[in-house]
């Protein structure tokens, strides 16, 4: 059964089709959730809400571009809604962040996916969202500004601050484990 058929059946709330769509795409979409969320729990919530939205709005997807892209967009929007609401105006003090020397719980051999993912998750919401949108999902600052309802300038500065933080954390981490 091809995707189109699956989608049509989902339009009719066919549970089997919906289940299959979930099987096919939840892996990738959960990856997106993890990137945008603060932690695993939140990511699961985002995934759940996203799929419920996907299934309820699936009749609005009319062959307009890639289905996966459409779903991913919904996931990102769901995540943005979650975090955008919570801290649009929070000003994060840089020194506070620098004091946080995180004990990153990971395997010494892994400067890898899990570690990097956790670094991203630990970023303050606004930095994380911008970093993901720009670096990992390739949105422009203009688009990001719209989506997060901030100015382009804010988007750019959040991005550079995010990079600084990430760099610092990686360096700290590498140094810590160099000696070990």
């Amino acid at each position: 059964m091809n995707i189109k058929e699956l989608i049509q059946k989902c339009c009719q709330q066919n549970l089997a089709a919906q289940s299959q769509v979930y099987q096919l795409f939840s892996g990738k979409l959960f990856g997106v959730c993890l990137k945008y969320s603060q932690n695993y729990q939140d990511a699961e919530d985002v995934l759940q809400d996203s799929f419920l939205t996907i299934f309820s709005k699936i009749d609005q997807y009319k062959d307009s571009g890639s289905f996966e892209g459409w779903m991913k967009r919904i996931v990102i929007n769901t995540a943005l809604q979650k975090y955008r609401k919570e801290s649009p105006l929070k000003v994060v003090k840089e020194d506070v962040i620098e004091d946080r020397v995180e004990e990153v719980d990971f395997d010494a051999t892994q400067l890898d996916l899990n570690f990097l993912l956790s670094l991203i998750q630990q970023l303050p919401d606004q930095y994380r969202l911008v970093f993901n949108l720009y670096v990992l999902d390739h949105y422009s600052h203009k688009e990001i500004a719209k989506m997060l309802q901030i100015s382009e300038g804010t988007s750019k500065s959040n991005l550079s601050r995010a990079r600084v933080l990430l760099k610092q954390k990686i360096e700290v981490h590498l140094q810590k484990h160099k000696g070990a």
Partner: protein
């Protein structure tokens, strides 16, 4: 020291195509919510269907001028080119359904909904989702439109296909159309009689189609989100009302309390505007001219030239004494002829009724909660209040012919009613539907005073034709 580019690159490389399997509880939660949504609809459907049926039966007692030609045409079906008198079939859910409806002689309507991946019972289709599938009408004469045959079974499903599968043949029918209610959302088949001879000819035909249909396993009808498209609707309203009161008192005079006061059947007409807020709620308003009348029966009426006094007179068991206290009624005119019986001879007595009528312009403000039901039958519950503006009021004596006594001066020129009721909509096509709306409305502060605790309410069956856009 890592440069910007490297940082970006590092993350991009590592996070590229990140795929993580979520824990199974996520899907369980999603599944739970999806099925909960579906299941929830059914009980409401049953409840509203049952209540609506009871109400309909009960209200047939009232004289109703509006005959609801319950024509079950599915609004979701893109094309039904059936003859006006023809019956139409009713769809049903994702399980296999075969509906055969043969309106008298010649037309056979076969409809079958193909079932695809048959799920567990959980997968009951909600009435709101499905509609006509593969409707095929085969008739005697040659006007068969057999586009459907040309559609290969494995065509990809799209709306075009749906269109081509709806084949309706016109056939002149003499008989009146039958109406079918499909109440059971799951697996109920409505089968009308077939005339044997006309069927036999077609049986192979029909069964061939059935097999063919069985091949087609896609859902032809796409859930049309008509709700999101149609926010406004206007409808004309015509109603029959029966007025009554919570108490037995008479609004005209305390002395008439023991006379039976009954409400007469009156009419109301006007228009209604409905705005749909979302899937479940809509608000509505409108304007109606509403006439109400109350009859006080068994009243002895005398004529004479003596003026009224305000003493009650006891007539015994045949009728109540009456008099009108000065404050209630304007006694400028004929009223002055009414006198206590004791001052007159018996020959001047007549029995009659006093009829009080008044008319209002009613402006209702109501909220409607929709039970999501099928495409053809939508029910909902309505509650709200109305403002009523008095336009007309008279009090009349009804004997051999009416003579106007005057008007009640204790009626407020503006008052309110609280309304509650049910709303039933039969869709004729995409935009039009017939509307039946029994309502109970209780009036507040109808009278400014001297009403002896008369609390009017009325039950009306409002019906009309509604246009949605």
């Amino acid at each position: 020291m890592m440069k910007n580019k490297n940082i970006d690159q590092l993350f991009q490389d590592k996070m590229e195509g990140l795929e993580v399997t979520p824990s199974p509880k996520v899907w369980s939660a999603i599944e739970g919510k999806l099925t909960k949504k579906k299941r929830r609809v059914l009980p409401y459907w049953w409840l509203s269907g049952g209540v609506a049926a009871v109400l309909l039966l009960g209200l047939f007692v009232l004289p109703s001028l509006n005959d609801n030609p319950i024509d079950i045409n599915n609004t979701n079906t893109p094309i039904i080119t059936s003859a006006p008198k023809e019956n139409t079939t009713i769809k049903n859910d994702s399980n296999k359904q075969l509906l055969k409806l043969i309106p008298e002689e010649k037309t056979i309507i076969a409809s079958k909904k193909p079932s695809d991946t048959d799920m567990a019972p959980k997968e009951k289709a909600t009435p709101k989702e499905t509609s006509w599938k593969n409707k095929v009408v085969v008739a005697d004469n040659n006007t068969i439109n057999i586009k459907k045959y040309n559609t290969p079974p494995t065509t990809e499903k799209n709306t075009e296909k749906e269109k081509s599968t709806k084949v309706v043949i016109e056939k002149p029918l003499e008989e009146k159309k039958k109406t079918i209610f499909s109440i059971n959302p799951s697996d109920k088949m409505v089968i009308a009689e077939q005339k044997k001879d006309s069927v036999q000819k077609k049986n192979p035909f029909v069964s061939k189609k059935k097999d063919f249909i069985a091949f087609v396993n896609s859902k032809d009808s796409i859930k049309t989100n008509e709700k999101s498209l149609k926010k406004w609707s206007v409808s004309s309203v015509f109603a029959v009302l029966n007025s009554s009161s919570f108490s037995n008192a008479s609004p005209i005079s305390a002395e008439l309390n023991s006379s039976p006061t009954k409400g007469a059947n009156t009419f109301s007409y006007g228009a209604k505007v409905d705005y749909r807020l979302n899937n479940k709620w809509s608000i509505r308003t409108g304007a109606h001219l509403q006439e109400m009348s109350y009859l006080t029966q068994d009243v002895s009426i005398t004529s004479g030239s003596a003026r009224i006094n305000s003493q009650a007179i006891d007539f015994g068991n045949s009728a109540s004494a009456y008099h009108f206290s000065y404050s209630l009624v304007d006694i400028d005119n004929v009223m002055s002829n009414l006198v206590p019986i004791s001052s007159l001879g018996a020959t001047n007595i007549a029995n009659g009724e006093i009829e009080q009528s008044f008319s209002y312009i009613e402006v209702p403000f109501e909220v409607k909660y929709h039970f999501n039901t099928g495409e053809k039958l939508k029910t909902g519950i309505v509650a709200g209040f109305s403002s009523l503006f008095l336009v007309n009021n008279t009090v009349e004596v009804v004997m051999d012919d009416s003579s106007v006594l005057g008007r009640a001066n204790n009626l407020n020129s503006m008052n309110f009613s609280g309304n509650i009721g049910f709303d039933i909509d039969y869709s004729i096509n995409k935009n039009w539907s017939l509307n039946l709306n029994p309502m109970f409305k209780s009036q507040f502060n109808t009278f400014s005073g001297n009403a002896n605790g008369f609390r009017p309410y009325f039950i009306g069956v409002y019906s009309g034709v509604r246009y949605q856009f």
